[in-house]
């Protein structure tokens, strides 16, 4: 019971970001760092104990996940988006087997770190991580457009990116039950809907004539290229796992 609750808390199954958002104890950036750290600890604990969460806890995580989906749908801030999505994916981290959960968690964290870094880039060049006024970046800032497209495609659970492969591997190795079907449908479509909505408002659209667009700096490009290579390596791992 206690272990279940610890796992639920570590795997972001409880939307504790509400407390930090209301009280301003931690900034948006730090909430992401904290939740990522807790998920990593959760993965370690999960691997050590090899204990899967019980059904009631998975249901709680799913309900909290739906709330995070609602929040992710409302926000236009890339920092907030990254931790909302992390919380949204909690049921899968809880429901998958140990190995599959760890692999999916790592892929998700790398992708979200990419989105978070794009938020940093937005903040540095446009004053905030809010993407709403910065539309049509594909045409005016092609590198930034490309990287955001990659991260959002990965997030929307499309191959060849690892999230999709790990997700597929995870659901393949889980036991089929009603909760499984509900969670798979919710997470599969939820990730997709959020990613496509963000894509439509950032990567696509007419460039804003009131904004002076600046593309990724060479240093940032290398950083994102590294992230992309990590994603590709994870994809290979995912493909191997899937076909094994």
């Amino acid at each position: 019971m206690l272990m279940d609750f610890i796992l639920l808390f570590l795997f972001a199954g409880v939307p504790y970001y509400l407390v930090f958002e209301k009280t301003n104890i931690l900034g948006k950036e730090k909430i992401f760092y904290l939740s990522s750290l807790l998920v990593i600890i959760g993965m370690i604990v999960f691997n050590v104990t090899e204990k899967t969460a019980s059904v009631p806890f998975a249901i709680i995580a799913l309900m909290a996940s739906l709330f995070s989906l609602y929040k992710a749908n409302k926000t236009t801030n890339l920092y907030k988006l990254s931790y909302y999505i992390l919380f949204f994916n909690a049921p899968m981290l809880i429901m998958f087997q140990t190995k599959e959960s760890t692999l999916y968690g790592v892929s998700l964290l790398v992708t979200l770190l990419g989105i978070f870094m794009m938020g940093k880039y937005y903040e540095r060049n446009y004053g905030s991580a809010n993407y709403r006024p910065i539309t049509g970046i594909t045409l005016v800032t092609p590198y930034a457009g490309l990287m955001l497209t990659i991260y959002l495609t990965a997030l929307a659970l499309y191959p060849p990116f690892p999230n999709s492969l790990m997700f597929l591997n995870g659901i393949l190795n889980s036991d089929l039950c009603t909760l499984w079907y509900i969670a798979v449908v919710v997470i599969f479509f939820g990730n997709f809907l959020i990613a496509v909505r963000v894509m439509a408002k950032t990567v696509f659209g007419k460039p804003n004539t009131n904004v002076h667009y600046i593309d990724l700096a060479p240093k940032e490009r290398w950083l994102h290229l590294t992230m992309f290579i990590i994603l590709l390596v994870l994809s290979i791992v995912g493909l191997k796992e899937l076909l094994a």
Binding site: L139, P159, P207
Partner: protein, 536 residues
């Protein structure tokens, strides 16, 4: 040497990577066309190898296969790809994002090759999804267009649903049959089918999941709206969509043909859904006012025919249909794109190549002569052939699938002929010849091409598919249905092509107007989606 053929799905990815590093615009199409030509040559070599040795080529640990289906489809896709790339070289030149376009185009071709050549359900699932995302990025190529992005979002939603159904079907298949390998699964399904349809409801669930996933990708009603509403994509993308992407439903069902042997109900549902789509979309095609949407509905109607053929057990005919329709639709889109492009530059009305070739600048007697020649050289030999065939008493109409396919094919053929030769009311002998010729050609095509393809793809198991799909309707009932279909077809053909001089004042009928309004509004389905499903 023959194993090289299995590299086909990876060559477009390599092209995309090379193009990614190129800076000069002129080199991008050159690289794409050069390597696509290699793909086409490899595809043709693979086809030659499979046909000459009767052996399939396995590779990459059995995950990929170049079998009979690949032997037919890979060269088709490769040649289509070559034409589209060549066409895009000039057509897309002035568009922003030339490099992006070629990269995405190569990704989608890679996904199609992978889908055709996969021998593993997991690889198939990956290719299936890879195609969805590549399509989305191509549809929304014009990133500044709000409607393109919105319709692209809707397209993605339908495709994502298809992805989910497909994934669940794959997982259930694995849980029940214990394998991902298609060749192994096909053997299992074939062995199981020997004892007739099975009772396990889960097998039917799998069959329906695969069918609905295929229907979504092939724009079958009620999942059709994504196709007519994505005409805003660049013309080469439209050509690819109508000639390649929508066909994947048919390809999937062909790959799963032996599974469907176990589930006759799935085939019956496919037949009904295909029939409804074929009729409804064809009527909508005539009623909608937007020419591009009309073309979209034309494709939806053809996909309906294709699914209907699958539902009748004519799997190989569906492949033949999708290829012929693909070539026809791609040429239509590419030519229309060229016309629009030419119209932007020329002050006069641009000339149309196909029109020039067949009708324009030719004396009338030439056209009539040509028509008579076609009629003469098709009617006489085929009548002799069919006469001999009937005299020998072979069971040509032993399954009602054949009758229905022939009826529909004949109607389509008649319409095509009447349009092609611009038949008028004054020329009655010509009409009779047209109708007879089309019927004979349909029989000829069915007998030779359809059956040859069937023998090539399914060997002795082809007849099993027809047997399972046969609707349990009596022979008399089938013949009555056939006669009814022919009369309706005749009536529509007459109405469409023989416009008489109106006698007196024509008063619009209220009921007719209402029906027309419903059809022109596409059955209010699009309004329903826009009003109540505000997702994007």
């Amino acid at each position: 040497m023959e194993k090289l053929v299995l590299f086909i799905p990876f060559i477009p990815i390599m092209i995309a990577i090379v193009i990614g590093f190129l800076n000069k615009k002129e080199f991008m199409p050159k690289v794409a066309i050069f390597f696509s030509s290699i793909v086409a040559l490899l595809g043709l070599y693979g086809t030659y190898y499979v046909m000459s040795t009767d052996e399939v080529i396995y590779g990459f640990g059995g995950y990929l296969v170049f079998n009979e289906l690949s032997a037919i489809l890979v060269p088709y896709v490769a040649i289509l790809g070559l034409v589209i790339r060549k066409y895009s070289t000039k057509y897309m030149w002035d568009e922003p994002g030339y490099k992006r376009f070629f990269i995405l185009l190569n990704f989608i071709f890679s996904a199609i090759y992978l889908l055709v050549m996969s021998n593993n359900l997991m690889i198939l699932a990956i290719a299936w999804q890879l195609m969805s995302i590549s399509l989305y990025l191509l549809i929304t190529f014009n990133v500044e267009s709000k409607s393109a992005i919105k319709n692209g979002g809707w397209t993605m939603l339908v495709h994502k649903l298809a992805d989910l159904l497909f994934i669940i079907a794959v997982i259930l298949t694995y849980k029940i049959f214990g394998s991902f390998e298609l060749a192994e699964l096909s053997q299992k399904w074939l062995a199981l089918s020997a004892s007739g349809p099975i009772d396990d409801p889960m097998v039917y669930v799998i069959g329906f999941l695969f069918l609905f996933a295929a229907m979504m990708k092939s724009a079958i009603i009620p999942f059709h709206l994504w196709l007519p509403y994505t005409s805003e994509a660049p013309t080469p993308v439209s050509a690819l969509m109508h000639a390649g992407v929508v066909n994947v439903g048919g390809i999937l069902l062909n790959k799963m043909a032996f599974l469907l042997l176990l589930t006759p109900a799935v085939l019956n549902v496919a037949f009904v859904m295909g029939l409804i789509t074929a009729i409804f979309a064809s009527i909508l095609m005539l009623a909608v006012s937007d020419i591009k949407r009309s073309l979209g509905y034309s494709t939806v109607g053809q996909m309906g025919y294709m699914i209907m053929e699958v539902g009748l057990g004519a799997f190989s005919l569906a492949i033949y249909h999708l290829m012929v329709h693909g070539i026809f639709k791609a040429s239509l889109f590419l030519e229309s794109g060229s016309l629009i492009n030419a119209a932007r530059k020329e002050p006069n009305v641009p000339r149309r190549l196909s029109h020039e070739l067949f009708w324009e600048e030719k004396p009338q007697y030439n056209s009539i002569n040509m028509f008579r020649m076609v009629a003469l050289f098709t009617v006489v030999p085929v009548v002799v052939f069919m006469g001999v065939k009937f005299a020998l008493g072979e069971d040509f109409f032993h399954l009602n699938a054949a009758i229905l396919i022939l009826a529909f094919a004949w109607l389509t053929g008649t319409q095509l002929f009447l349009s092609f030769f611009e038949v008028t009311k004054a020329n009655s002998p010509k009409v009779i010849f047209t109708v007879i010729s089309s019927f004979i050609i349909v029989l000829f095509t069915y007998e030779f091409v359809g059956l040859a393809l069937e023998h090539f793809l399914y060997g002795e198991h082809g007849a099993l598919l027809y047997k399972v799909a046969t609707l349990h309707v009596s022979g008399t009932m089938t013949l009555l249905m056939l006669i009814a279909i022919m009369f309706i077809g005749w009536y529509f053909t007459y109405k469409q092509h023989f416009v008489g001089i109106p006698i007196g004042e024509h008063k619009p009928n209220k009921l007719q107007w209402r029906i027309y309004k419903i059809l022109a509004k596409e059955g209010y389905l699009s309004d329903l989606y826009i009003k109540y499903f505000k997702v994007f």
